[in-house]
């Protein structure tokens, strides 16, 4: 069986800086994998390589057996790999519902003529998209604010909208870049439940970058630890927690 995501020897060099150095790991379908490490370890750079925003200097990335490291980001997204951003990137002047419709762009009928005359096929796909949007608004508890502009939402709501915007595309793999940043403890607990629910109910695999260790230890099946661009440990939460290299990276020389 092929792995869902296969990262093999990926390096990313910015001039003289080796931001990511020979990073390898794999993800199986249905897995929740956390990518952790001190600030500046190269976590977001790995994300950008996987999602096609950077072209790795070396190494290969395969998504469900297909090589993706030379593809533009929008094609990778259409293959079922979608992501959120550390600094939330919503379409602020559009409504919550419109945000969810834009996300389904590649599944809608974008033909100019059928759209202008509102052909039956166009309307059917539009209706399906609205239904999916409505469903996900319920899941992330945003149905009440569907017609509000995204800029008017509270911070926690914005985080949830960004996740919903990924999920309406029914992805295979969801990349979350620090989803708990800026959330209060209650919201973080809800997020914890949501991530597990996404995997259990909706069959999506999740790769997440997170600093909140409580969340990471709670939801992750496995953890990959990065430090200075290299993988220093991989394993189950309990293993990683006791790994001397990890403790050293986080706390410095004892």
């Amino acid at each position: 069986m092929t792995a869902l995501l296969q990262v093999e020897g990926v390096s990313m060099r910015f001039g003289g800086l080796m931001a990511v150095d020979n990073v390898s790991f794999t993800m199986e379908p249905g897995e929740i994998l956390a990518l952790i490490g001190p600030n500046g370890a190269g976590k977001t750079t790995v994300f950008n390589c996987i999602s096609g925003f950077y072209r790795p200097s070396a190494g290969q990335i395969h998504l469900a057996g297909q090589r993706t490291d030379r593809e533009p980001s929008h094609l990778i997204a259409r293959r079922g790999l979608v992501r959120t951003f550390q600094n939330i990137r919503l379409f602020d002047n559009m409504t919550v519902l419109e945000n969810l419709l834009v996300a389904q762009h590649s599944r809608l009928d974008t033909n100019l003529w059928t759209g202008l005359v509102r052909a039956p096929g166009y309307r059917a796909r539009m209706k399906a998209a609205l239904a999916r949007a409505a469903h996900w608004l319920e899941v992330v508890d945003l149905a009440a604010v569907a017609d509000r502009e995204a800029s008017t939402l509270a911070y926690g709501q914005r985080r949830r909208l960004e996740i919903a915007r990924c999920m309406v595309q029914e992805p295979r793999l969801l990349l979350l870049d620090e989803p708990a940043a800026g959330l209060n403890p209650r919201e973080t607990a809800e997020l914890d439940a949501l991530i597990v629910d996404l995997r259990n109910q909706h069959g999506v695999s999740v790769l997440l970058i997170e600093h909140d260790m409580h969340l990471v230890m709670g939801v992750s099946d496995r953890i990959v630890v990065l430090d200075q661009g290299r993988v220093i440990a991989t394993g189950q939460p309990e293993q990683v927690r006791r790994d001397p290299a990890v403790i050293k990276a986080y706390l410095g020389e004892a």
């Binding site: 533009p72 929008h74 990137r89 919503l90 559009m94 419709l101 834009v102 590649s106 202008l116 949007a133």
Partner: protein
């Protein structure tokens, strides 16, 4: 207050220092030679003017900003949502030329052309957020497209109309390709250059475009083959209906034709905004990186905005050529691009009703203020400054189309 005076005094001092060598020395003939004399009057005048200007700017502008214009969006924007109100408005607009003077109808036709141009540019600037300073080039391509098609291929207005739209769309894609990677200021400069290139080509390709002399004898639009002329080879309008010839028939016909084109444009763009492509334009304006992460291809979306925006300019250009009967490069200068851009900004980026209002305003104002001809650009600039202080979002800010959840 003291801080403001000090600030203004600083400005005056700088003005004084700058003015001294420039204006403060004067050559005086003295016998056979020249002597240099100090001239304190102009220097002092400049310093005082700068002082007063700066003081006014510091104390008046914040006061001006405190006023706010009433918000008409609630009432005016509602009109577009009631089919009955819309029908009444349309009927009034269609009936009006039969009662108005010939000059007024002609002017209204021009206003309608600007409405079309404004709506078309709004796709590119207002919706897709791509600053295009050379939009007039597509207008020119439409106009010259029709003139040349009529001259060399004998094609009439009705067939030329879609062809001109297509031609402009192709030009839009051709411009779009090289500028895809550019954004903001850089894009503005390249599009500005594109507009100038087209203008220079029209002016200098004498063999094809007639250069500065332009092209004349462009055929007028016909009503199902009926011509609006006192005498013609084919059947004429007044003979067919058995009425006496009246030259204002053609003026009214052109107005109604322009009205029809504008209504079609409004309806098409309104629907486009509700379609995936329209939302994609706006999403691209909001955040290109997020678009890519969601599987939207920025290249094709930008190209479609350029192409569709240009199409409407092509239609407008074709109609313009048919209305004038004569075109020359002077109708397609940068000034026109600027006017169209002002219409989009004045109307409220992305707002259809606002653009109609702004286009009418921008066409009527110079006519109403004929006596101030010399100061037109001055008033125009002042208007823009006040607009940016009071209503940066435009006369009628855009409203989001409502969507019903399934």
């Amino acid at each position: 207050m003291g801080a403001r005076v000090l600030d203004a005094a600083g400005w005056a001092l700088i003005a004084l220092l700058l003015a001294m060598p420039l204006m403060g020395l004067r050559l005086q003939p003295a016998g056979m030679g020249l002597t240099v004399q100090g001239a304190w009057q102009p220097v002092a005048t400049v310093a005082v003017l700068v002082l007063v200007f700066r003081l006014a700017q510091l104390s008046l502008l914040p006061m001006l900003a405190r006023f706010s214009l009433p918000t008409p969006r609630a009432q005016l924007a509602q009109i577009g949502r009631h089919p009955l109100a819309l029908a009444v408005l349309l009927a009034a607009a269609a009936a009006w030329p039969f009662f108005a003077s010939r000059g007024a109808v002609d002017l209204a036709t021009l206003a309608l052309i600007y409405v079309m141009l404004g709506l078309g540019l709004n796709i590119v600037v207002g919706l897709a957020g791509l600053l295009d300073l050379g939009y007039v080039a597509f207008y020119a391509i439409g106009a010259y497209g029709f003139a040349l098609l009529a001259e060399h291929a004998g094609i009439g207005f009705w067939l030329a109309l879609p062809l001109c739209g297509l031609l402009a769309a192709i030009a839009g894609v051709l411009l779009g390709f090289p500028v895809l990677r550019l954004r903001g200021d850089y894009l503005a400069i390249v599009t500005l250059g594109f507009g100038e290139i087209i203008y220079l080509l029209l002016n200098n390709l004498d063999a094809l475009t007639g250069g500065p002399n332009g092209i004349g004898g462009i055929p007028r639009p016909t009503l199902f083959g009926l011509e609006f002329a006192s005498r013609a080879e084919g059947p004429t309008f007044h003979e067919f209906f058995g009425i006496s010839f009246n030259s204002s028939h053609r003026i009214i016909f052109l107005y109604l034709l322009a009205l029809l084109l504008v209504v079609i444009t409004l309806a098409v763009i309104r629907r486009l905004r509700m379609m995936p492509i329209g939302r994609a334009w706006e999403a691209l304006r909001e955040d290109e990186i997020a678009c890519r992460a969601l599987g939207l291809n920025p290249t094709s979306i930008k190209l479609s905005a350029f192409a569709l925006g240009a199409t409407f300019a092509g239609f407008a250009g074709c109609f313009f050529a048919a209305r004038q009967g004569f075109i020359s490069p002077e109708s397609f200068t940068f000034h026109e691009s600027a006017i169209i851009l002002v219409i989009v900004i004045l109307g409220g980026m992305g707002s259809q009703a606002g653009i109609v209002l702004a286009a009418v305003f921008m066409t009527l104002l110079p006519e109403l203020a004929r006596e101030f001809d010399q100061y037109r650009m001055l008033l125009f600039g002042l208007g823009m400054v006040l607009m940016m202080i009071w209503r940066p979002q435009g006369l009628l800010p855009a409203r989001r189309p409502r969507l019903e959840l399934a």
